[in-house]
Symmetry: C2
Subunit: 229 residues, 2 copies
């Protein structure tokens, strides 16, 4: 019976899983493995290539092949536009503006965004619904010194996220993930109880050293933000 690359790969994987070859272990060279399995070297090579592609082993030109330690230590999250996120779930998107005001920048925000005392900011509060259920509550502050056109935008028909993306680019952003207890006001909008734990992302975007916006996106109770890596 011919030994295929799948047989070789399965056996190597089994040895890795059983700890015969622990993370960091230098694997035998392809010639020796070919002899062990009684197959061509090309067969071993293909098995190794697939293990390398899957991030299980690491091949270095001169140092040989090792079982990887902690193969991947970074996860990537895409930052979606909420309308697209809801529509991708096959749900119907609905938008509602709750409040839009122009006021003097509050002290806490002035610090966060490095704004000038007394400067005006536009605050927008709105809701995003999926199939008639509250999905996300958005509270956002926009800096009209960087985006003067925001003073003319009323956000009655659509939200400030897509509007901003069409209006101005950003060069850097900071995003935080956290849990918050719903205030009574937030609970009323989200259809939950005050004190319930809600998942929130808070993001600031900048055009070089000038702050464009700070936004707090609070999701419905039970929301999970998931990614594979």
């Amino acid at each position: 019976m011919t030994v295929t690359f799948k047989d070789v790969k399965a056996d190597l994987l089994d040895q890795i899983a059983r700890g015969v070859m622990a993370p960091g272990t230098l694997m035998p060279n392809e010639m020796d493995l070919a002899e062990t399995y009684g197959c061509a070297r090309a067969t071993v090579n293909r098995a190794m290539r697939e293990l390398a592609d899957e991030g299980i082993v690491e091949r270095k030109r001169k140092a040989g092949t090792r079982v990887r330690k902690a193969p991947i230590r970074q996860a990537r999250f895409s930052i979606p536009i909420v309308r697209e996120e809801i529509e991708a779930q096959g749900a119907e998107y609905r938008y509602a503006l709750i409040d839009r005001t122009v006021a003097e920048v509050p002290d806490w925000l002035r610090g966060r965004l490095a704004l000038t005392p007394g400067q005006q900011v536009v605050r927008v509060v709105c809701m995003h619904w999926a199939d008639g259920m509250p999905y996300q509550h958005e509270e956002r502050w926009i800096n009209p010194e960087v985006v003067p056109s925001v003073l003319r935008a009323d956000f009655s028909a659509s939200g400030p996220n897509e509007w901003l993306l069409a209006e101005i680019p950003f060069s850097n952003a900071e995003i935080s993930f956290m849990a918050v207890e719903a205030t009574q006001d937030l609970a009323d909008h989200m259809g939950c109880f005050a004190g319930n734990a809600l998942f929130r992302t808070e993001r600031t975007t900048w055009l070089r050293e000038r702050a464009i916006t700070l936004v707090r996106l609070t999701y419905r109770r039970g929301h999970r933000m998931t990614t594979k890596y």
Copy 2:
């Protein structure tokens, strides 16, 4: 007075910020800009190169340079080992094992990890402290079919995360971020009140189609997980 690349860059940035050049706009070519600013083409080129490096404009060989729309839509999070995360903050790390049991896999977990009914799993509960304050509560299930050595590991001195990384590689993982309300037990460990909102990550790791572990990491109240992009 000579026009420097910094002058050109600042002026272009100002036009972008003021919306004179909105996202998606095709920018004038370098020759024309050089004429406008009364400087060498190389000066304009350098300004453009920096704007491109900062993700503000996008240069395409034949299509010219455009102001970027929504420049970066992905954030990367590193998945730290909690000891390293705490030590990086300059705090003293302390570990405490709360419980380690071997038991039949509960139904909810069997579904999550595609395990066999009646199979044994190792459950480990432990705490990670920073400067004597509760930092992270860890609840983890490990599959001994994939990592048999876990049956001999007692986790009394150090946690299962680093142990697993040294024991077995993983080829893929799924991570979720969420908010949970603290149970009384969790509140007791974390030094908060039952019902408080806590930030949690839940992660499963796999060696191809075989589940290695599911872990729930719940952070102290007020924790923010932050990244720049």
